[in-house]
C-alpha cells in the first residue's frame, strides 16, 4: 500500500518509513509537521496516513486535527494516529470514522501486529489500542454499559479494537457461535436496529463509546 508519514522527530520518521518499506509497502511522502499534510495527501492519494498526534507548533492536538480534516475531505484514506500516551479528548470523535486507528507509539516495535493493524485501517477497518479502548469503555455509573455483562463488555471491547468474530473467539478462547450470541445480546441490550451486520458492529461500538463520553 501507499503510505504518507507525518512525524516531527526525524529519527522516528525515518524508522517508520523503513519499517513500512521493509514490510513491502511504498512510502510516498514524509513530513515533519501537519501544515501541508492535507495538500500532500490530496496530491499523493495514499491508502494510509500515519501521523503523530503531537506535532509542532503547539505539540497538543495538531495530528488529531489534521486527521479530522483528512477524514472529512477524503474519507476513503485510512488514518492511523500514533501517540506517546493515550489522549481520548482529541480522538473520541474520530473513532466514529471507518478506516481509523489510534495506537501507542511503541506498538510499532511489534512489527507484524503493527503492520496488520495498518493494513486493516487502510482497508477501511479500525485499530484501536487496547489502552484506548479500555480508557473509553471503563465502567461509569449511569452508562448503557451497565446493562451488559462482563463477558459482553469484553466482546465489545475487542469489537472496538477492530477484531473479527473469529479473532474475538480465538482471543477469548471460545467458539465463534458463542461470540455471535454475545454480539446479538449486545445489539439487543443497546437497542441497535437490525441492518447489515458490519454496520451494526460500528453502531454498537460508537453508540457505546459516545454514551460513555457523555456520561
Amino acid at each position: 500500500m501507499r503510505i504518507v508519514i507525518a512525524e516531527d522527530q526525524a529519527l522516528l520518521r525515518e524508522g517508520l518509513a523503513r519499517l513500512f518499506v521493509d514490510g513491502g509497502h511504498e512510502v510516498v511522502a514524509t513530513l515533519a509537521d501537519a501544515d501541508n499534510l492535507l495538500d500532500a495527501v490530496r496530491g499523493a492519494q495514499p491508502d494510509l496516513v500515519v501521523l503523530d498526534i503531537r506535532m509542532p507548533p503547539t505539540y497538543t492536538d495538531e495530528g488529531a486535527r489534521a486527521a479530522r480534516a483528512i477524514k472529512d475531505e477524503l474519507p476513503a484514506v485510512g488514518v492511523l494516529l500514533l501517540s506517546q500516551h493515550i489522549e481520548t479528548a482529541h480522538t473520541v470523535t474520530l473513532v466514529a470514522h471507518s478506516g481509523f486507528g489510534y495506537l501507542l507509539k511503541d506498538r510499532v516495535l511489534e512489527v507484524r501486529e503493527f503492520l496488520a493493524s495498518a493494513e486493516r485501517v487502510a482497508a477501511g477497518g479500525s485499530a484501536l489500542d487496547p489502552v484506548v479502548v479500555a480508557s473509553l469503555v471503563s465502567p461509569a455509573s449511569g452508562s448503557p454499559m451497565e446493562r451488559l455483562s462482563e463477558r459482553e463488555r469484553d466482546v465489545l471491547q475487542l469489537m472496538a479494537e477492530g477484531l473479527t468474530n473469529s479473532g474475538i473467539a480465538s482471543r477469548l478462547v471460545v467458539s465463534e457461535r458463542t461470540v455471535e450470541a454475545h454480539i446479538r445480546h449486545i445489539f439487543t441490550k443497546l437497542d441497535i436496529p437490525e441492518t447489515d451486520d458490519a454496520h451494526r458492529r460500528v453502531i454498537a461500538v460508537l453508540a457505546f463509546l459516545d454514551s460513555l463520553h457523555h456520561a
Binding site: 522516528l12 521493509d22 500516551h85 482529541h90 507509539k105 511503541d106 512489527v111
Partner: protein, 649 residues
C-alpha cells in the same frame, strides 16, 4: 504683642496700685485687694484676647471695663483718703466709686450679647443693649442726683444731690429697664449654647459656667451682705471668674475639660453644704444632750464631718457625674466592661473600634494601627488605610508603654471631652496591641501561604516539563532505537537465528523501558489531565486494583486546581487501597457554590486520622497550598475524604 495693649495693661496695673495705696487701711483689706485683682484680671484677659485675636470685641470690652474698674477704684480710694487728710474733691471720688456699678451693667450685658466671637447674634438682640443704655441714662441721674444717699458718704451728704430732681420717677422707669435688660441678655447666650456645636459650644460652656456661678453668688451675697459679712469677698471672686472663664474659653478652650470642671465644682459645693448641715445637726443634737458650750460639741461635730466626708464625696461625685456628665460615667463603665469581655474571651480585640464609637457616641471614628519596623498604617483587620487627617478630624495616640501602637482618629468635637477621650483611648491600648499582633501574624502567615502556593506551582510546572521531556525525548528515542533494531533484524533476514533472537530480546527490553518511563511520567503528572479532570480520574479508576466508580463531568477548571484535585483523589485512592480493606471506592469531583469538591469514599474499615507523618498530611498541605480545606470522616463503615478547592470560573 503690639505695644498699646501692653501699655493699657501697665496703666491699669499702675492705677490699681495707686488705688490700693490710697485705700489701704481705710476699708477691709479684701475689698481693696480683690477689686484691684478684678480690674487687673479684666484688662489682662482683654489684652491677651486682643493680642491673639486682633480687634476682638470681647477683648476690647474687657480692656475698657478693666480700665473703668481701675478708675473707679482710684476714685473711691481718693474719696476715702481725702476725707482722712482733708484733701479736695473727696466726696466726688466717693460718688464715682459708688456709682460704678451702673456702667458695669452695660459691660455685663455686652459681654453676654457678644460672646464668644465678638458679634451680635444674628437674631437681632442689639436692642437689649440699647434698652440697657436707656436704663443707665435714667438710673444714673435718678441715683446720682438723689439727695437721700447721704448716709453712703463719709460726709453724710451726696455732693451731687439735687432736692427737686425727679429721682424717684427716673429710678422707677430706669431701674426695670436696667435690670430687665441684664436678665434678658442671658437669653441669646443660652440660645447660642443650645444651638452651638464643636469649639463654640465648648467656649460657651466655659463662659456660661462662670456666668451661672456669678448669677448664683452675687444675689446670695447681696442677701447675706449684712447677716454674714464673711461672704462679701465672694462677689469679687465671682466677678473675677467671668473674665477668667471668657479668656480661657477664647484662648485655651482645648486645654481643660469643662465638663470635669463643672461636675467637680457642683460636687464640691454640694459636699460643702452637706458637711455644714451635718456639722450643724450633730452640734445641735450633742448640744441638746450635753450643753451648748461643751467642747464635746465641737469634737463630736468635727468627728461626724470627718467620718462622712470620704463616702459622701464619692457618692455625691458619682451622682453629680451621672447628672452633669452622664456620658463620662457611662463611657468609662462601657470601656471597662469591654476590657473584661476581652479578658474572658467574650469580645474580640478587633471590636475595640466599635466599642470606642459606642462609648464616645460618634460614628466617624477609626482606629489606625501602625505596624512595627516602619510598617504601613492599617485598620484593625490589616487592610491598608491612609494616615492623613480630613478637615475637622483630630487624632489621639494609642500607646502601650513606650510603644506607639496607632492612633484613634475622630471628629475634632471630641476635644470637648479631652480627659474622657484620653482615658478611654488609653484603656483601649491593650485591645489594640492584641489586634496589632494579630494583624502582623496574619500578614506573615499570608506571606508564607503565598510562598507555599508559589513553591507548589513551581513544582507542578517542573513536573509538567519533565513529563513532556520523558514523552517527547527519551520515549521517542527509545522507539527510534527499537525501530532501528527491527530494521537490523529485517536486514539480517533468516540468516542468523541467534542474533535475531537477541534483537527480539533487546526490543522487548526497549518496550519495557518505554512502559516504565510512561508510568514514571504518569506519576509526575498524568497526561490524561490534558483531557480534563474527569478523564484523568477515569484513567486512574481503570488502573486501580478494585472497583472504582467515578462521579465527574467534563467541565474544565484552572490547570492548577485540576492537578491538585487529581493528586488529592490519587492519594486518597492509594490510602483506601493500602489501608482500608475496601472493596469499592467512589471518586467524586463536582462544582458546588464556586468550589470544587473532590471526594474519595470507600467502604473499608475506617480509622483514618490525618496526623503527622501519614500520607494525608502531605495531602492536606497540598490542598492548603491551593487555599482549600481537607476534611476526613472515618467510621467503621468506611472513610470519606473531602477536599474543597476554591475556584472561579
Amino acid at each position: 504683642m503690639r505695644p498699646w495693649p501692653a501699655v493699657l495693661f501697665a496703666a491699669t496695673l499702675a492705677i490699681e496700685v495707686g488705688a490700693i495705696a490710697l485705700s489701704w487701711g481705710l476699708e477691709p483689706a479684701w475689698d481693696t485687694a480683690l477689686y484691684a485683682v478684678y480690674g487687673v484680671t479684666l484688662t489682662g484677659a482683654g489684652v491677651l484676647i486682643v493680642s491673639r485675636h486682633r480687634g476682638h470685641r470681647i477683648g476690647l470690652l474687657f480692656i475698657a471695663t478693666g480700665l473703668l474698674e481701675a478708675f473707679n477704684d482710684l476714685a473711691q480710694g481718693w474719696g476715702l483718703r481725702a476725707a482722712r487728710h482733708d484733701w479736695p474733691a473727696g466726696p466726688y471720688g466717693e460718688w464715682v466709686g459708688l456709682a460704678s456699678w451702673i456702667p458695669s451693667g452695660l459691660a455685663i450685658v455686652l459681654s453676654f450679647l457678644l460672646f464668644p466671637d465678638g458679634h451680635f447674634s444674628r437674631r437681632g438682640w442689639q436692642w437689649v443693649a440699647w434698652v440697657n443704655v436707656i436704663g443707665i441714662a435714667l438710673v444714673l441721674p435718678g441715683w446720682g442726683l438723689n439727695p437721700n444717699l447721704g448716709d453712703q458718704f463719709i460726709s453724710g451728704r451726696n455732693p451731687l444731690g439735687v432736692d427737686r430732681a425727679p429721682t424717684d420717677l427716673l429710678l422707677g422707669v430706669g431701674m426695670p429697664l436696667f435690670l430687665g435688660s441684664l436678665v434678658v441678655a442671658i437669653v441669646p447666650l443660652v440660645q447660642r449654647l443650645r444651638r452651638s456645636s464643636g469649639v463654640e459650644r465648648l467656649q460657651l460652656r466655659w463662659f456660661t459656667f462662670a456666668s451661672v456661678c456669678a448669677a448664683i453668688v452675687l444675689p446670695t451675697v447681696a442677701v447675706l451682705w449684712s447677716v454674714a459679712p464673711a461672704v462679701r469677698p465672694l462677689s469679687a471672686l465671682a466677678l473675677t471668674a467671668m473674665p477668667l472663664a471668657a479668656g480661657v474659653a477664647i484662648l485655651r478652650y482645648r486645654l481643660y475639660d469643662i465638663d470635669l470642671v463643672i461636675s467637680r465644682t457642683v460636687a464640691y459645693a454640694a459636699v460643702t453644704l452637706m458637711l455644714a448641715a451635718t456639722y450643724a445637726a450633730t452640734a445641735l443634737v450633742i448640744g441638746a444632750a450635753v450643753g451648748r458650750h461643751s467642747t464635746w460639741v465641737t469634737a463630736g461635730a468635727t468627728l461626724a464631718v470627718a467620718a462622712v466626708f470620704g463616702p459622701l464625696r464619692r457618692r455625691v461625685q458619682e451622682r453629680v457625674d451621672r447628672r452633669f456628665a452622664p456620658d463620662r460615667v457611662y463611657s468609662l463603665r462601657q470601656m471597662s466592661r469591654f476590657l473584661e469581655d476581652l479578658r474572658t474571651g467574650r469580645a474580640a480585640p478587633e471590636d475595640v473600634e466599635r466599642t470606642l464609637r459606642h462609648v464616645l457616641g460618634v460614628e466617624d471614628l477609626d482606629v489606625r494601627v501602625s505596624l512595627p519596623h516602619g510598617g504601613s498604617t492599617v485598620d484593625l483587620f490589616g487592610a491598608p488605610v491612609s494616615d492623613g487627617l480630613r478637615e475637622g478630624q483630630m487624632s489621639w495616640p494609642i500607646r502601650h508603654g513606650e510603644t506607639l501602637l496607632g492612633t484613634v482618629v475622630g471628629p475634632a468635637e471630641l476635644a470637648e471631652r479631652r480627659s474622657l477621650v484620653t482615658k478611654v483611648v488609653q484603656g483601649s491600648s491593650l485591645a489594640v496591641e492584641i489586634a496589632r499582633l494579630r494583624v502582623e501574624l496574619r500578614h506573615q502567615l499570608d506571606e508564607v501561604e503565598k510562598s507555599r502556593t508559589r513553591i507548589v506551582a513551581a513544582a507542578d510546572d517542573e513536573r509538567r516539563r519533565i513529563e513532556r521531556d520523558l514523552h517527547d525525548g527519551a520515549q521517542q528515542r527509545l522507539v527510534s532505537i527499537g525501530l532501528a533494531l527491527r530494521h537490523a533484524q529485517h536486514a539480517l533476514g533468516a540468516a542468523n537465528v541467534e542474533v535475531s533472537r537477541t534483537l527480539d530480546d533487546a526490543v522487548a527490553e526497549v518496550t519495557e523501558t518505554i512502559d516504565e518511563l510512561r508510568e514514571l511520567a504518569r506519576g509526575l503528572r498524568p497526561a490524561a489531565l490534558d483531557a480534563g479532570l474527569g478523564a484523568a480520574l477515569r484513567d486512574l479508576a481503570r488502573r486501580a486494583p478494585l472497583a472504582v466508580e467515578v462521579d465527574a463531568d467534563g467541565e474544565r477548571l484552572a490547570p492548577d486546581v485540576e492537578i491538585a484535585a487529581y493528586f488529592c483523589a490519587c492519594e486518597g485512592l492509594t490510602n483506601a487501597v493500602k489501608h482500608s480493606g475496601a472493596t469499592k471506592v467512589v471518586l467524586g469531583a463536582r462544582r458546588r457554590n464556586g468550589s470544587l469538591v473532590v471526594s474519595v469514599a470507600d467502604n473499608g474499615v475506617g480509622g483514618v486520622v490525618a496526623d503527622r507523618g501519614s500520607g494525608l498530611t502531605g495531602l492536606s498541605d497540598r490542598v492548603a497550598a491551593r487555599g482549600g480545606t481537607l476534611r476526613i470522616h472515618s467510621s467503621c463503615t468506611g472513610t470519606t475524604l473531602l477536599a474543597e478547592f476554591p475556584c472561579v470560573s
